[in-house]
Amino acid sequence: MHLSENATAVAQVDASHASGGHGQIDFMGALFVFMLASFIGVMVIQRVSRLLHTPLMSLTNAISAIAVVGAIIVAAGKDYPPYIMALGIIAIVCSTTNIVSGFLITDRMLKMFKKQGGAGK
């Protein structure tokens, strides 16, 4: 396979800037972060009002479109082969779609929830 041979030099640079990290990847640190974030997620989500489960789902849709970060990193890479950049661009389109529609529809739904006789529109 000769997918791209012109970019060996990028390899070293890539490991450091693609991640927004420091050359050496800290696997254990990443796993700890994942574990803690999962516990926080479970505890926070358990307290979400059942009334709001549909908006919750569209909100987390938008939040998981954080994948846009990875998509930008892939799309913007210097000296990356064009097809890599193309994959990144498509991924940006997908993520942006989720960001825009996710936040907008969540807000649209939440606006509708009103208390008895309470604060109107």
Binding site: T8, I45, R47, L52, A71, L87
Partner: protein, 474 residues
């Protein structure tokens, strides 16, 4: 401060805002702040990423800008869909999320492979990469299928599709994909590795379709929640690949949300994950109570309206039928007229009523029914014996007493709304066909039950009209 530190600082603030965003969802009063906080977090994340990329000599900004524009142009109309279409919009956005993760993973692998970059294709990263593309691509096609079923696209079968050896075949497919993935993890730079990689992609795409084929409408709330968790986990895997903590945390938040919603949905149906995914609910041919033909009692809207008007407490049980008929605004009229006569009206919300978690609440909120009158199943069941009328609008299995009493029923053990304990029951139903699970609902044959056959919107409209014509009441 170096550019790198600024980026990390922005990510840190963004992370905190994402967590706050979900925390504010605990109460409808603060929930809109949650959206604002989420938007701010996302803007910071994007700004930080662009800054980081710029500091390391990134390019293609016009392309990226264009991609933002195209994404926004697709996203905006998707946010304007009618609320009855929210389940399919949600499924569609899971599909986009899965695809984005899959594509980024694919790009990263081929980039490193092209560079012959063994250091970046360490076993840890390869595990994360394989997980990312597996979850990403199966979420993509699985969610597209789910969206198609929800949208009732003509060429996608609505009913569960089953065939012999289906589960064995599906699991076999998954095992082959994971086997290929293992090969890749051990030999990421082998000359055959890119083909194995493409093989994993194709198998994941196929698995996503096959996974959803046997799943029917009533299981959609659970399946959408599971797909939500997968989309989150694929973002986590991307975070491991890119060593990006913001991705890991935001993905974990999404993943745990999907997980918790799935658990709530499964509990509300008294079923396990495995049973939802492999059970093909509703396909078990019912040994239907042939021979004993029971008779419904139907009633006119005139007398139903009279009974409703004289009640003290009316509990309305909405279901998917209300969503299909778009009856929520007529329900609101009825609600107003009854309240004007001093009748207390409450809505009993079953967790799996509708096609996604919280579906009924959103529809009723759209009709401007105050959320204090939307009552959860466990709470309303305590009040059921005091209810003069239970009015069932397009719900079926969630009020079927067989879930409590009939051990042979496929829904036995599922928690239900105790509509049968109300003094009188009115049930609005489109047709005399049994519900999704294909089982008779003995509630409809009780002495105190009266059926109102017809489209939910027109029947409720009729009821409201009768009450309005009847003037101020007695």
């Amino acid at each position: 401060m170096s550019a790198e530190n600024i980026v990390q600082l922005l990510y840190l603030i963004s992370t905190a805002l994402f967590i706050m965003s979900l925390k504010w969802m605990s109460d409808p009063a603060t929930a809109r702040k949650g959206v604002f906080s989420g938007v701010a977090a996302m803007l910071l994340a994007v700004a930080g990423t662009l800054a980081g990329v710029a500091a390391t000599g990134g390019t293609h900004y016009w392309w990226i800008l264009g991609a933002f524009a195209v994404g926004s142009a697709i996203g905006y109309p998707l946010a304007q869909v009618p609320l009855t279409a929210v389940p399919q919009r949600t499924a569609l956005s899971h599909a986009f999320g899965g695809l984005a993760a899959g594509l980024v993973g694919t790009a990263k692998y081929f980039l490193y492979f092209g560079q012959g970059n063994a250091a970046s294709l360490s076993p840890f990263i390869m595990v994360a990469l394989v997980a990312e593309i597996l979850l990403g691509y199966l979420t993509f096609t699985g969610s597209l299928m789910a969206a198609g079923k929800l949208q009732e696209v003509a060429w996608i079968p609505q009913r569960p599709v089953t065939y012999p050896l289906q589960n064995v075949g599906n699991i076999g497919l998954l095992i082959v994909a994971i086997g290929l993935g293992l090969g890749l993890i051990l030999n990421p730079l082998a000359h055959w590795a890119p083909y194995a990689f493409l093989g994993v992609i194709v198998l994941s795409l196929a698995f996503g379709v096959l996974m959803i084929l046997p799943i029917g409408g009533a299981d959609m709330p659970t399946v959408i929640s599971i797909l939500n968790a997968y989309a989150g986990l694929s973002a986590v895997a991307m975070g491991f690949v890119l060593n990006n903590k913001l991705l890991i945390i935001a993905g974990a938040l999404d993943g745990s949300s999907g997980l918790i919603l799935s658990i709530i949905m499964c509990k509300a149906m008294n079923r396990s994950f495995a049973n939802v995914l492999f059970g093909a609910f509703g396909q078990t041919p019912q040994a239907s109570a042939a021979g004993e033909s029971k008779a419904y009692k139907s009633d006119t809207t005139e007398s139903a309206a009279q009974v409703l008007g004289q009640a003290n407490l009316v509990v309305i049980v909405p279901g998917y039928g209300m969503a299909v008929a778009q009856a929520q605004h007529k329900v609101r009229e009825l609600y107003d007229l009854l309240r004007k006569r001093g009748v207390t009206v409450k809505f009993a919300i079953h967790p799996v009523a509708g096609r996604m978690p919280g579906h009924m609440n959103v529809l009723l909120a759209e009709a401007e029914i105050p959320y204090d009158d939307l009552v959860e199943m466990d709470v309303i069941n305590g009040d059921m014996p005091q209810a003069d009328v239970a009015l069932i609008i397009g719900a079926n299995d969630v009020v079927n007493p067989a879930a409590r009493s009939d051990k042979s029923s496929p829904i036995f053990g599922m928690p239900i709304i105790d509509a049968d304990r109300a003094k009188t029951v009115y049930a609005i139903k489109r047709s005399k066909n049994p519900g999704f699970a294909g089982i008779d609902n003995e509630l409809y044959f009780l002495d105190k039950t009266f059926m109102l056959f017809g489209d939910a919107k027109s029947v409720v409209g009729e009821l409201a009209k009768q009450l309005a014509d009847d003037g101020g009441g007695h």
